[in-house]
Symmetry: C2
Subunit: 333 residues, 2 copies
Amino acid sequence: MKKLINKPEDVVREALAGMAAVHADLINVDIEQQIIVRRDAPIKNKVGVISGGGSGHEPMHGGYVGYGMLDAACPGAVFTSPVPDQMLAATRAVNGGAGVLHIVKNYTGDVMNFEMAAELAAAEDIEVVSVVTNDDVAVQDSLYTAGRRGVGVTVLLEKIVGALAETGAPLAQVAELARQVNNQGRSMGMALTSCTVPAAGKPTFELGEDEMEIGIGIHGEPGRRRAKLATAAEITETLTNPIVDDLRLKAGEQVLAMVNGMGGTPLIELYIVFNELERILKGKSISITRSLVGNYITSLEMAGCSITLVRLNDEFVKYWDAPVHTPALRWGR
Amino acid sequence: MKKLINKPEDVVREALAGMAAVHADLINVDIEQQIIVRRDAPIKNKVGVISGGGSGHEPMHGGYVGYGMLDAACPGAVFTSPVPDQMLAATRAVNGGAGVLHIVKNYTGDVMNFEMAAELAAAEDIEVVSVVTNDDVAVQDSLYTAGRRGVGVTVLLEKIVGALAETGAPLAQVAELARQVNNQGRSMGMALTSCTVPAAGKPTFELGEDEMEIGIGIHGEPGRRRAKLATAAEITETLTNPIVDDLRLKAGEQVLAMVNGMGGTPLIELYIVFNELERILKGKSISITRSLVGNYITSLEMAGCSITLVRLNDEFVKYWDAPVHTPALRWGR
């Protein structure tokens, strides 16, 4: 196992310590409890927005804590859901009296634990609404999930919804916008290589030298099918068409497009995929008017990429363009 | 060769096309000539700042073109110097009448070609000053270089010097600041894995399952030594101590620290390395007061990291903190 780590059991704790040191201007990190909280939380009368999930997907979610996006994130062990106590602590920490939105990726463990945390928070009279993301068109059910998995749209949703929350909008409105973004977004991913969970010490799955996995999940869950290696043009087509079909995107529509690296893929390749994506969508008269290319929701050192499209409307654009200042996304301030 | 590409010979052209599409608000890309120019160039009476080098190190340098950093970048083929004609075209495109600074990493091909471009520009009455970066403490001479290689400090220098150029400072002053940053900066890198140049189709070098290369260059040039895998703590110590010694950093001094991923290393590991770096420097009473953690000067999909330290003074801090708006670095606007 070739990793820049010390002991596997210390990976999350030490990475959080590093993150706390690098981004001390933006976040407070409770390393023992594993929660990352915006420095100025709780903000009075502002809806608190939190998310969480297994570690190993950095910069998600901790990298999105800050002005205009998340108020807190709770990372679990690598590829393992955080526990309800963490989520409850994060909920308390960001409750400014206007309630708290839980953004939950649709993985069985995450959903169950966030539900429990919401109940515990309710018992303390903190109003919580949960929105579950389920944008992965690759498979209906999978190893860790009933229904579609929540993947790339989560990042884009956190940005858009975080901007609305920053305006002081009420919880019901913030939650409704989250549901709308999820409804208008779809994703699909693929892997050229597997990844190795530090505690396991060996690759999650095996892929031949001339093979790739289409429709992979972000924990290395099996996808739609294993296939022979193909060109960037073919791979991009394979990922894009199911998204366009499922979203029923039509000529003349505008999208926010994310080409996301899985952690081990260099930026030069992601730009090539974006070039193909633009060509394909142009052929369908669909315009990419906002975009994001880079490593945003990763699977450790896995090589591969995912594509996420969100159908845009004026409201989404307005909140996408609004200022954000987090460790991983920053513009407008 | 597992890559998200089409034909190896189209990699740079297609990646540039993708980059142009993603960042059309910031840059103009001449895909045939392979130059990336700031949209508002040339800026009258502002020193033009350009850099260039082989592709495969993204986001360097094209990702640093924009307000407060570079005015243009010329990417060569993968791991291959751009040609003088490209550099001359970039120099012309950014010449606003106040002259042009060439920032050149110390690799034999880059130095030779930038020298030729400067002569051609001089023949057109464009004043050019070149500053060569040579911050890599790992080896004195290497496969592609006489003297020390120019690596991570180049990124930090481009940010600091670009901010000064933005104020309208004259060429001599901009060049002098570039020399000062280079003098105060040192780097060292290591690799856990090799990388594969698309046109070659096989790894640049071989590393055993339990081996790493210490002091690697950004093209996979051999480093100081091959060693058995070690912990993040040991690796960070191995990279940091030669930098601190060479810079003669003393207790009480402040540094800008970059922990850079080589392209295939996940962010969670880079934060662990940063945590170790902070611990080591704290032990020497050296403070990290500015920092950057992520993939900034890469070697395709190589796994590994490099550390760069720049001794800070008030001037460096002022220009580091100044607004920047490029594809890869953005703050303050």
